[in-house]
Symmetry: none
Subunit: 537 residues, 2 copies
């Protein structure tokens, strides 16, 4: 009985307007495959009239046989010209996609200021352009730019723009909060008015400039919108577009709308992480639903309640969106966190066990020294596996050296490592653009002959924190290293009064963790591969 | 005529539940000073019953003479006991703060499952605890935990919990969406019901698990809540708390409520960035209102429209929140900051001056490279003094070298520096317990014969931040060094792809600044010492 909502993904078009986001045609095709697997209904590929990368995408995407409709983006025809002769509109038709979205002005101020034409000519531009798309047999969507700002200044003109598109046969009227400045209560009121005045289906396209894009989208759906435009992880210009990774579960789990089949919704977290990898953008740990900390618990009281019943501090079951509960082990927490972490890893541990007490004491001692495992799951896992399983040491370090020199403005960093892999000594050196990079390069160089897959992982974050600030450079530092391989991410920690030594420790942990997972993959232990899902596809 | 909203900041308490966030007592005091300057009404400092760090904070914060009310956090008394004998409640009263917030259950499920007591005893716990605070003359706020979930399951019990607190004299009933799973429309309905049933003032405390914390807060205010609890940058457990940096401008600029004086609102961006520096958490460029990309324009069409009229693609004037427009071409935003900074230093600078334009270009170029002067006043001052005064170079560096070696578990760090002081070459070496410490030791050793007072200063903080996380160890890092001595504290910055080189640059800046102020102090310029005096203890 609940309504269906069409999910329109514009990660490949509006998402690429985000600062620092640049996608190749290959990247776009990979993301399109992943979006199709997620089950979105529309994938906006780009603007075939704007650049060769997008033209390549539209050519190659046809052979992928996707279920999602691929849509092209463009503008209404130029002023004082014919749609049939508009190069950009012709390119859209030539691209062979079944559907297109055209942006057109709906705010009188913009018609005057940005477009510098008359209000009548803008209406004609809208009508002609949609009539042209429909004559060419396409599904046509009108992105009514600045619709809400326009409505607030001149409601009749904003509605007239929609009506022109509807009269020309547009299938969807997509109301855009282009500047992201509208409030949920305003959205609800204005969408309700649109519903009462027009018959075409309504879509919603919001931006996050007030941190309200998700709420605004929900508000529009409650008022009758049936298409939702957004991007994975909310990528987009300025503060980003509406984040589909929050909107979809809100609509489906909280509000009872149908967006995706339930089993596809379970791939939401891996989709979000995959896209962040391809886009090469660091994903905030606290991102709603799909973030690494979205279901992470730190406080001891919270953890002991979670052990009794997870709904005490979780608003949904994390598995519904493919995420998982994490218990953070921190100074605030006690034994219950560690035991539940061990259970999560499938280790047979209980609180009465002597070994359990030992490992808890060991972790407390390490925390006292400045280690922090709440941000370093992989280091904690290595500790627990060492204590409770017969984990073999894949390699051992004999020594490392580091030389740096700055003279006449030129800086040189060189690392020399001596390690032992299965009884074989490897002694090698590498340069880097800094000491940690040099060490990382040297260590990989030493290991890659034994573990070629090591090339598929890379360090994705590096953080340094002074623990006891009173002694400043003589104080201890904690280094957190985050590594990433395909759609998995893990973190390790190192502590020392020497920033290089702490980095080295975290680096070693990261590589050991990766090798351990590869090893497990090779030995075919399916639950671990699944959980780590490391280099497995 | 518009309503006043009390801003309750819990960055120092609930914010520290965020993954990877750990604040020392010094960090907390610095943030409290900044929050007070922003003009928030309440600063929740922590839980005086939980740890020594918070006890230290409450002791030391008294001497800062803040305008904001400092509040302590705790729970309602333990079950089956007396409030007068509850160690945690006694600690709150002893801490000497004028106001306290107690969390207490409002969801029957939690009373049974987590608290494991009867519904009646929970109500008695609430009543006794608030009566105790009021007998001790404190302003008392009830954080009604899981209020919305509780209301949805058993509205009468949730309301009864509020009523007990009100009957005991609680000044504020703060409705908490502890699990962050509630929708704005539900919030509005439930807060309206509470307003109709109770007379005490209502507060709202939301979490961001559905990416709706800001919208939920606005919704509660629209339904009558008059206190807003949240954190700077939305720090907090799991997906974070409600983000005050978005809530305050939404309430004040968009909705017409009074939160802060307009001139204080203009410090919002610098506050957000300062707190992210102290917390050592990377700030997303796209953060609403205060992010570096919040008013950045990339698309060519957008930029040309912006040049005609900035409201074409900006929902507010960025200056209202102390942010600025950024366009890919160089612009003059920020000039006024630099000029006012120069005036603060007593330098004769005006915007028409050719030299002023040069220094602005230089600072912009440095910021583009990753420098950030907001947390490094001393580096900015050095730049300005170099440009506008005849500052002599006290010493110059010819070269430095660094050797490190770890073998058989023993780590050695050695630095060699060659510097020039007043035409005299000093070539010396020192060891340290890490590379930065070794460099620091070598540099001091070279200078102490010329400037014996250098022994009175020491590095008090050292922070490293990866600027471009995409390349991990090959990425650039920014090092912030804080130095203390001669009753002053100052910060300097260094940037490089090499953590040691960046540290060296910040270290040099710190020492140069110290030598310069010694010089000035000797010349009897008291205002510098005074201006720098951050936390004098």
């Amino acid at each position: 009985m609940s309504a269906n909502i069409s999910i329109f993904d514009t990660t490949l078009r509006d998402g690429t307007q985000g600062e620092g986001i640049s996608l190749s045609a290959d990247d776009k095709l990979k993301i399109a495959l992943k979006l199709d697997a997620l089950g979105v209904h529309y994938i906006e590929g780009g603007n075939p009239g704007s650049n060769s990368k997008d033209i390549e995408f539209f050519q190659r995407v046809k052979s992928l046989g996707l279920n999602a409709r691929i849509t092209a983006f463009g503008s209404t025809r130029r002023k004082n010209s014919l749609a049939e002769q508009d190069a950009s509109l012709l390119r859209i038709v030539e691209s062979g996609v079944p559907a297109a979205t055209l942006v057109g002005k709906a705010w009188d101020f913009h018609v005057h200021t940005a477009l510098q034409t008359s209000l009548e000519e803008n209406l004609a531009m809208i009508f002609d352009s949609f009539a042209f798309l429909k004559r060419n047999g396409m599904e046509a969507m009108y992105d009514a730019e600045h619709f809400f700002d326009g409505y607030k200044h001149n409601p009749e003109y904003a509605l007239a723009a929609l009506r022109k598109a509807q009269d020309a046969g547009a299938d969807w009227l997509v109301l855009c909060d282009t500047n992201g400045g509208t409030l949920p209560s305003e959205i609800h009121e204005i969408v309700s008015r649109v519903r009462s005045e027009l018959t075409a289906s309504i879509g919603i396209h919001t931006h996050n400039d007030c941190e309200l894009a998700v709420a605004n989208t929900l508000s529009a759906v409650q008022a009758g919108a049936r298409q939702v435009q957004g991007t994975i992880n909310g990528y987009g210009e300025r503060c980003g577009n509406a984040n589909l990774c929050s909107i979809i579960p809100n609509l489906q789990i909280k509000m009872g709308y149908n967006c995706l089949p339930d089993e596809k919704l379970r791939t939401l977290t891996s989709t979000a992480r995959y896209v962040s990898e391809i886009a090469n953008v660091h994903m905030p740990v606290g991102q709603a639903y799909v973030g690494n900390a979205a279901f992470a618990h730190k406080g001891g009281i919270h953890v002991s309640a979670i052990m009794k019943d997870s709904k005490t501090y979780e608003h949904i079951q994390p598995e519904l969106v493919g995420n998982k509960q994490r218990i953070l082990v921190s100074e605030l927490a006690g034994q219950s966190n560690i035991i539940s972490k061990a259970h999560e890893l499938g280790l047979d541990v209980n609180s009465n066990n002597e070994k359990t007490k030992q490992i808890i004491d060991q972790i407390k001692e390490l925390e006292h020294q400045g280690y922090q495992f709440e941000g370093a799951d992989a280091s904690l896992e290595l500790l627990l596996r060492e204590a409770f399983t017969d984990m073999k040491e894949i390699f051992t370090v004999e020594s490392f050296k580091m030389h740096m020199e700055k003279s006449n403005g030129v800086m040189i960093s060189e690392a020399i490592v001596k390690i032992n892999v299965d009884g074989q000594q490897v002694y090698t050196a590498a340069e880097g653009n800094g000491p940690v990079n040099a060490l990382d390069n040297a260590l990989r160089k030493a290991l890659v002959q034994f573990y070629p897959k090591i090339e598929q992982i890379h360090l994705s974050d590096y953080k340094v924190r002074v623990i006891d600030e009173k002694d400043a450079t003589a104080a201890k530092v904690r280094v957190l290293v985050e590594s990433t391989g395909l759609d998995n991410t893990w973190s390790t920690v190192g502590v020392s009064s020497n920033v290089i030594e702490a980095s080295w420790e975290a680096l070693l942990g990261s590589i050991r963790y990766a090798l351990l997972s590869m090893d497990k993959v090779n030995n075919g232990s399916p639950d671990i591969t699944e959980r780590l899902g490391l280099i497995n596809h």
